[in-house]
């Protein structure tokens, strides 16, 4: 008995020493997170940051050989500070950058990363110039084309003949609205565009033009949360004779359903997952469990995008470390070889760093749920059409 106890103790001791030794040998890499945690983009920046931290948590728990330490710098939603944030992160030893929100902030930040030879990966900017300006180490997992496909696919399924496009004059929103208008016109759909300054709060004059002049089947809103609330409120007051209201990012979210229950019924918006969310893959389940544990709430799309971009980066770092190419541009090289199914679908990067396969999904607020209605292969329910919030 004494011998058995002794042997067991030695075994436990050896196992513990082995674990300590392996931990001691786990190579730690610093990854910089440059995000707007204050300023006008604070909400979206904070959402993406949650995804970054969840990715680090999941990666570190499942990887004994390599560890990731995330260092975050707030870029205050300002382009100049975004570039300074990347330089600060580089000085703190970051070997790559994840994050960035808003094409105007990502552009100078990724330029700074490019000069410093750091890999930069994002999901926060859809401006096409980001991938067409010769940045060698720049990667992006989403793009305007993916949103455009979702909008056009949904409109085609609805059979809309006339569409009023209400869009913010910001770069990303203008790009998407112009692309959609061009594509709709080419298909013979009458598309009338109404641009608006991001500072405006009263949308009644625009919606009144749609009500009295456009008389469209569908209103397509390309803006941000505050714009959607303003447009939907104006529409609720003026009740234009439309059959559907579609938005893009930040609209088909559980938060919007909870905060604005009178405005959201039957409204469409892009979404990766239905609500309540269901995760079928091991990666998805790991993400959801870690997210719940860290933040005690349901994950949203910003968290999912932040998670995917960061996880792809961390995996590329691990592969480059294994090959000993970290300091020889190995991280970017490994990212270029990425071909993997993720929470946002299959990701492969083209020569310019853009995700070749990105196609968003369209969801609709139905009661307290968010139902994926396009494409058919991912649909979790049928669209309610015609359907308005009033």
């Amino acid at each position: 008995m004494r011998k058995i106890t002794m042997a067991a103790s030695i075994a436990v001791l050896m196992a513990a020493m082995a674990a300590i030794a392996s931990r001691a040998h786990a190579e730690e890499f610093v990854v910089g997170a440059q995000l707007p945690l204050t300023g006008t983009l604070a909400r979206v920046g904070a959402g993406m940051h949650e995804g970054v931290m969840v990715a680090a948590d999941v990666f570190n728990k499942g990887n004994s050989k390599h560890k990731i330490k995330v260092v975050t710098v707030d870029d205050e939603s300002a382009p100049a500070k975004a570039a300074a944030a990347v330089e600060k992160l580089a000085s703190e030893g970051a070997i790559a950058i994840t994050g960035g929100y808003g094409s105007n902030n990502i552009s100078p930040a990724s330029d700074a990363a490019n000069k410093l030879g750091l890999t930069y990966i994002t999901s926060g900017g859809v401006d096409n110039n980001l991938v067409n300006s010769g940045r060698k180490n720049f990667f992006r997992i989403n793009n305007t084309a993916g949103y455009e496909k979702a909008v056009l696919g949904t409109l085609a399924e609805m059979g809309a003949k006339t569409v009023s496009i209400v869009f913010s004059t910001k770069e990303a929103t203008s790009d998407l609205a112009n692309s959609v208008q061009k594509a709709l016109t080419a298909k013979g759909v009458k598309a009338t565009a109404h641009s608006f300054d991001p500072a405006i709060t009263d949308f009644k004059p625009i919606v009144n033009k749609i009500r009295l002049q456009d008389k469209s089947d569908v209103i397509l809103m390309v803006g941000y949360e505050n714009d959607y609330v303003g447009i939907l409120r104006a529409a609720r007051v003026l009740k234009p004779p439309v059959k559907a209201l579609i938005g893009v990012w930040s609209l088909a979210t559980p938060k919007m359903a909870t905060e604005f229950p009178d405005l959201m019924p039957n409204v469409y918006g892009t979404a990766l997952l239905p609500f309540p969310a269901t995760f079928d893959t091991a990666d998805g389940k790991a993400f959801a469990a870690a997210y719940q544990a860290l933040y005690k709430k349901e994950p949203d799309y910003l968290g999912q995008f932040g998670y995917v971009q960061s996880m792809l980066l961390f995996e590329a770092i691990a592969r480059a470390a294994d090959k000993g190419t970290i300091k020889k541009g190995g991280v970017a090289e490994e990212l270029r070889k990425t071909d993997r199914e993720t929470l946002i679908g299959r990701v492969q990067f083209g020569a310019n760093g853009d995700n070749l396969n990105f196609v968003h999904r369209m969801a609709q607020h139905q009661g307290k749920n968010i139902v994926i209605v396009w494409p058919a292969s991912n649909a979790t329910g049928k669209m309610v059409y015609p359907g308005k919030p009033w």
Binding site: T38, F196, R233, V237, L263
Partner: protein
């Protein structure tokens, strides 16, 4: 087309009422003390977040937040005065820098406490359509437009008829002479900040009741309020209403007749045009009362 223009005029009028309510507090402090309180937008925003807390936490209509918002924002405004009053030299320029700093601190405190999410009322009553013939608005907009008019009338009366109002104007005209007349300048200035805080309290609750709020929104509110204050003519309360309504109508007509993307530009063009033709503002010094 007539319907479109009528609606634009109506929307502009209501929007002007909202702008006027936001600008009143700033105009009061600027008119009486020549201090541009760059934290004014954040004071309005603080009241809006108090309304959000009352609605989301207690399940009450945001209008019930008015007493709390008025008290909290007035005290905060008094605190701002407490700091500003310590400036001994070049008060006009130094108060500008100081209140800007206070505004930044307040924005970040709001961000820390209420997070960065977009907030707005979920009250169906306030969002319901209020229809007068061919004119449409939200019920909240119409209600707070009337509140705005009442507050402006009350403020004008207070400034022109009450002892403190007259004392404020006396201090504004000649601080030393006012002292000789037995008016304590520091106390009257404190009163002006407290009244400005009360007005910001109303404005914030109104803003939350028909608009959308975010922590970074304070700066934009201050800029809009400042434009209206200058447009009005320094110290003119009726001028604030006139300037705000002109701005609101110009913006709404631009959206209707041209493009909504030009709305802000139209506002700034109007601002420059008025200053070019009437450097003292719409109701500047020569016709000022109140």
């Amino acid at each position: 087309m007539t319907d479109l223009i009528l609606q634009a005029l109506y929307s502009g009028l209501l929007q002007g009422g909202s702008y006027a309510l936001i600008a009143l507090g700033l105009a009061l402090v600027f008119g009486t003390m020549r201090v541009i309180n760059l934290a004014h937008g954040e004071l309005v925003l603080l009241a809006a977040y108090i309304a959000y807390t009352v609605e989301s936490g207690l399940g009450l209509n945001p209008a019930w937040a008015i007493p709390i918002a008025v008290v909290v924002v007035s005290l905060t405004s008094a605190g701002v005065y407490g700091i500003v009053s310590r400036i001994r030299k070049d008060r006009e320029i130094n108060s500008l820098i100081l209140t800007f700093g206070i505004g930044v601190i307040m924005t970040n405190l709001i961000l820390l406490i209420w997070k960065a999410d977009v907030r707005s009322t979920s009250s169906s009553w306030l969002q319901e359509a209020f229809v007068v013939g061919p004119l449409y608005s939200m019920r909240g907009e119409a209600v707070f437009f009337i509140v705005s008019l009442l507050l402006m009338a009350g403020l004008w009366w207070w400034l022109s008829r009450s002892w403190y109002g007259r004392a404020l104007r006396a201090v504004s005209s000649n601080r030393e002479a006012a002292k000789l007349m037995g008016i304590p300048p520091a106390r009257t200035e404190l009163v002006s900040f407290i009244v400005a805080g009360m007005l910001a309290g109303f404005a914030g609750v109104a803003l939350y009741s028909y608009g959308v709020i975010q922590p970074a929104y304070g700066g934009a509110l201050t800029v809009k309020a400042f434009i209206i204050t200058v447009l009005a003519g320094v110290g003119s309360i009726p001028g604030v209403l006139l300037g705000a309504v002109l701005l609101g109508v110009a913006e709404a007509l631009t959206v209707t007749l041209a493009s909504s993307a030009l709305q802000e530009l139209a506002g700034m063009m109007l601002f420059l045009l008025v200053l070019f033709v009437m450097p003292n503002g719409l109701l500047g010094a020569s016709r000022r009362r109140g």
